[in-house]
């Protein structure tokens, strides 16, 4: 009985403490899964402030924020979504570029597909039948899907791949599909395959950045963002955070860039 009471009290206490210190709520594109996780851990350690991140597809967040989704900061994988929301007056301003995303060809260990940055073996594997399924994010609404489509068109493989493409709802799901053992590979975010969690399961090659329109990733504070959120937003533009983005394979916009 006494134990139960203690348990209930500690639950109430923790609810109260959470309610006191309102955490910064961040909506982040799924290609930031690992990079941002590390940045947040460092920021929380240094500032003593709490940051709660929801990862998902940028398109989904761009639909939810106008409906009142309670986010302070939105890190989109495609700046078009930021401009769209800013145009509707839902953001403080047009925000900042924080990273330029890159694409990679990923193959799980044991795949018959060899990875190379020119997609040479992918081309061969499509024609000799080694490739049954290739995973990409859905080009209809995922920024990395659009970029993957552009790269495959550039390589002249898009039409040959019809019927073989497995579409992830976001780029992290595409990476998971690529490694599931049911696909021979995928074209996904370089920032994901740089993470040890994924790197353990496969090999990857970086595709040339000239093969697709740049993945200009932009972030902005929402209209009602807290002061703490502003601090985290500033932190993301400072050297330690930028170094981490770079370590996860993002190209960096020039400092102080619009």
């Amino acid at each position: 009985m006494r134990f139960l009471l203690f348990f209930l009290l500690s639950v109430f206490a923790s609810i109260a403490s959470v309610a006191n210190a309102q955490p910064t709520r961040v909506a982040a594109a799924s290609d930031l899964q690992f990079a941002l996780g590390e940045i947040v851990a460092r920021y929380e350690h240094e500032s003593g402030k709490k940051v709660v991140v929801s990862f998902g597809s940028s398109g989904n967040f761009a639909r939810q924020i106008p409906q009142g989704a309670p986010f302070d900061l939105f890190l989109s994988a495609d700046e078009a979504y930021i401009f769209r929301l800013a145009g509707h007056g839902l953001l403080r301003d047009q925000g900042q570029l924080y990273a330029i995303g890159r694409l990679a060809l990923l193959a799980p260990h044991g795949s018959p597909l060899q990875v190379d940055s020119e997609l040479r073996d992918l081309t061969a594997a499509i024609s000799d039948g080694r490739l049954q399924r290739l995973a990409i994010a859905n080009p209809q609404h995922a920024p990395y899907g659009r970029a993957a489509r552009a790269a495959l068109e550039r390589a002249g493989l898009w039409s040959a791949l019809q019927g073989k493409l497995v579409l992830g709802e976001n780029v992290a799901q595409a990476a998971q599909f690529a490694l599931s053992g049911s696909a021979q590979g995928g074209i996904v975010a370089w920032s994901l395959v740089k993470a040890p969690e994924l790197a353990r399961h496969g090999v990857a090659a970086l595709l040339p950045e000239s093969w697709h329109p740049p993945l200009r990733q932009r972030m902005a504070l929402t209209r009602d963002a807290s002061e703490d959120a502003r601090r985290f937003y500033d932190y993301l533009q400072q050297a330690p955070a930028r170094a981490l983005f770079e370590r996860y394979g993002f190209a960096l916009p020039a400092s102080g860039n619009q």
Partner: protein, 233 residues
Amino acid sequence: MTEVSSVTAAIAVIDWQALSLSLQLASATALLLLPLAIWLARLLAWSQFRHQGALEAAILLPLVLPPTVLGYYLLLGFGGASPLGQAYHALTGRALVFSFDGLLAASLVFNLPFAVQPMQRSFAAIPREVREAAWVSGLSRWQTFLRIELPLAWPGIAAALALTFAHTLGEFGVVLMVGGSLPGETKTIAIAIYDQAQAFNDSAAAGMSALLLALSFVAVLLVTRLGRSVLRR
């Protein structure tokens, strides 16, 4: 005039391939579950056996299980790297993940309670004396089933089919997890609506949502009609 043009506009944005795939999936699920569900429903309605409670619980489980749980098991357990996935591929030359077969397997599991429950209720409503009378009149068990039980239980069976059909049309979570949105293979109407909504194609999402709403309403209407005729008996 404007009504006609808005209707044609709505028709133009409907992904017919996705709709047809959903209808195929729903029909295949309902038809394949029919014999299994009849067998299970009779068993549960009329017999007493050990572990009956456990069997009933297992059949009802999909009602409360998040689709993501089944999706996760399908992706890992039935994937090309798993023994099950490889065995299935060796047998049929097809895959269970990113394929129609996989969606069908998931639907069969997920619709079990929707198929068994209404049937179980209508078989349980047949008095034992009716079946006994059929046996003493010289009808074999099989004849009793076809001539006595089926005609008496059919509203429940039909309701189960309609419910299974409608529920499969609405399946989303599992399909999102293991489908991969392949046109004509795993891109169901529910996924097509999601993709269009994500891409801000609101007219397409709205058109298809309205269609699915109407289809589901008709199916559920059918279920309640049939349910009422079970009660009248």
